[in-house]
């Protein structure tokens, strides 16, 4: 039978992460796993994402919302971790078990994985989401280190789970000095993985720019996961492009979201 990569799934669970309120509202959303027979889902890799559109969107907001796959298997369902930043995520935060959601994916490429190679994961804020499974799959890596910068409290993120598996350190920013200290830390750590290690980063654009620049200065490069605003999520609308030095504008959803820092202009 034809396996439609867009499915109607139901909400299994919505769990608040952290205390919410002024600190920011964070959730983990678990959706039905769309069939074990679906080979695309059996083969998904960290860094890939899904487009999610609850029925409750109606005709407004119009577009689905992209989220990194935090985990996905029969047991847990398809899980994403998200922060409420606007009306789409606010509607997600109001979902209840049993609610219907259109979901298409897994989409995009994925982070590289080089078993044995020293691997540095750099996460900013909710950009930590794709690394949850990455750490699980690669925690045996000789040298897997995660450096996490965040502003809301640590329990807003699925951090504890990861810290149990690999060398994970969290740095909270509460004032501008903290940010400078964090950037200084990146400046120390990144060169240690250049040019031979693997550097993977996910987080806000300024954070990604810094990572790319520092890696470049150290004679290396990093894989950056971009979060451009998307409409289709599948390479059809050309609304989400990033500038690739060789190929010109490439759709982030279909050719990314992960790009080598030295190949794109951010």
């Amino acid at each position: 039978m034809f396996a439609n990569a867009c499915q109607d799934v139901t909400v299994r669970r919505l769990t608040r992460l952290g205390a919410g309120g002024a600190q920011g509202d964070f959730f983990e959303l678990a959706l039905d796993f769309p069939g074990a027979g679906d080979t695309a889902w059996a083969r998904w890799r960290p860094g890939q994402f899904v487009m999610i559109r609850p029925e409750s969107f109606g005709l407004d907001p119009l577009m689905g919302r992209p989220f990194s796959i935090a985990r996905a298997d029969e047991e847990h369902g398809v899980c994403v971790c998200f922060q409420v930043v606007g009306r789409g995520t606010a509607k997600l935060a109001a979902l209840e078990p049993g609610d219907r959601v259109a979901m298409w994916g897994p989409l995009g490429n994925a982070f590289a994985a080089r078993p044995g190679a020293p691997t540095l994961l750099l996460a900013g804020g909710i950009g930590i989401a794709p690394f949850l499974e990455y750490v699980k799959r690669h925690s045996s890596a000789a040298d897997l280190r995660l450096v996490f910068g965040h502003r809301p409290p640590l329990d807003c993120y699925p951090f504890a789970e990861m810290a149990a598996l690999a060398a994970c350190e969290a740095h909270r920013e509460t004032c501008p000095e903290d940010l400078h200290a964090f950037i200084a830390l990146l400046g120390e750590v990144i060169p240690q993985y250049c040019p031979d290690g693997l550097i993977l980063a996910c987080g806000p654009l300024p954070f990604l720019r810094t990572v790319g620049r520092l890696a470049g200065e150290a004679g290396g490069r990093a894989q950056l996961s971009l979060e451009n605003r998307m409409a289709c999520g599948i390479g059809a609308c050309l609304g989400c492009v990033t500038e690739h030095k060789e190929h010109g504008p490439l759709s982030v959803c279909a050719r990314g979201p992960v790009f080598w820092s030295d190949e794109i202009t951010l």
């Binding site: 990569a5 559109r53 907001p61 289709c232 599948i234 059809a236």
Partner: protein
């Protein structure tokens, strides 16, 4: 009932096509449905040479709609014909090429090249793209210019049907439609996007790098229906309805005001299998609403 529709020499299994620019080159949607089930497939606007399109950001969400200023980024007609078209089920499902150019002769050259491809069933001429600064807007807003482009394309299109796609950003769309019909168009498709804009009150920046973009989606359906209705009363060639179609009922509404077939655009972004779902749902809705033939339903609005 029989879902088949015919117009301008084309025969479609059903009246549901996909709208240019919202369905990529077709191949992107193969994971979401069987392309052969669609009435026809209109691919992303093609130009003679590849185009890089506009700077980012290019899209913004608006109430029940979206703005885009993609700026006609495309791989160029040749690359499409050589690399994408062969993967499409063109021998079973009409593949319609959407043409974009900045001059009448260029339109002619593009038409000549595309018309000679066996895989291209028809040409749809985009004279109305509001996103490109090089003059594209003018063709669609001036009856004489629109007629000139239509003639240029018709002259070079051989036996392939030529559809001309109209912009709603005009004082009198019926007037434009007549001019294009008189210039030889075999069919009209409408509407293209409404000219619109969005800004961020906080950053004080436009939400599109291009400042102005094209509004599409359910928000514009009332404007689209009105345009189709007015044009259907003004011309005798077939009209393809476009604008905000997101349900099987929307499809019927456009046929009710006179459209022969429709194109699903922005709604492909609501969910990528939406066009396929509408193909599935349409027969049951027709049965429920007592629609038993397109010929009797088309344009049967009691107004």
């Amino acid at each position: 009932m029989d879902m088949t529709v015919s117009f301008a020499g084309l025969t479609l299994d059903n009246p549901i096509m996909t709208a240019s620019g919202t369905f990529g080159y077709g191949v992107e949607y193969m994971r979401f449905g069987d392309l052969e089930r669609l009435g026809a497939l209109v691919v992303k606007g093609l130009s003679l040479a590849p185009r890089r399109g506009n700077p980012m950001p290019r899209i913004a969400e608006t109430p029940a709609g979206m703005l885009n200023a993609i700026g006609l980024q495309n791989i160029g007609a040749r690359e499409f014909v050589e690399k994408r078209l062969p993967s499409l089920p063109w021998s079973r499902t009409p593949v319609i090429a959407n043409l974009y150019a900045c001059a009448a002769e260029e339109f002619g050259d593009l038409a000549a090249y595309l018309a000679e491809q066996p895989g291209v069933a028809a040409l749809e001429v985009n004279i109305s793209c509001p996103n490109v600064s090089e003059g594209g807007i003018l063709f669609g807003q001036d009856p004489r210019l629109a007629a000139r482009v239509t003639e240029a394309v018709k002259r070079r299109a051989g036996a392939k049907p030529v559809m001309v796609k109209l912009t709603p950003n005009v004082t009198d769309i019926a007037d434009m439609a007549r001019a294009v019909q008189d210039a030889g168009a075999d069919a009209l498709s409408l509407i293209n996007t409404l000219s619109g804009m969005a800004v961020d009150a906080r950053t004080r920046r436009p939400r599109l790098a291009n400042v102005i973009g094209g509004l599409s989606g359910p928000a514009i359906k009332p404007v689209a229906l009105r345009c189709v209705w007015q044009v259907c009363r003004a011309v005798s060639i077939p009209v393809i309805g476009i604008g905000g179609i997101a349900s099987a009922e929307d499809v019927l509404e456009f046929i009710l005001v006179g459209a022969t077939a429709v194109q699903v655009g922005t709604a492909n972004f609501i969910r990528p299998d939406l066009a396929f779902r509408l193909v599935d749902e349409l027969p049951a809705l027709c049965a429920a609403l007592g629609v038993d033939s397109w010929d009797t339903y088309r344009g049967s609005l009691k107004a």
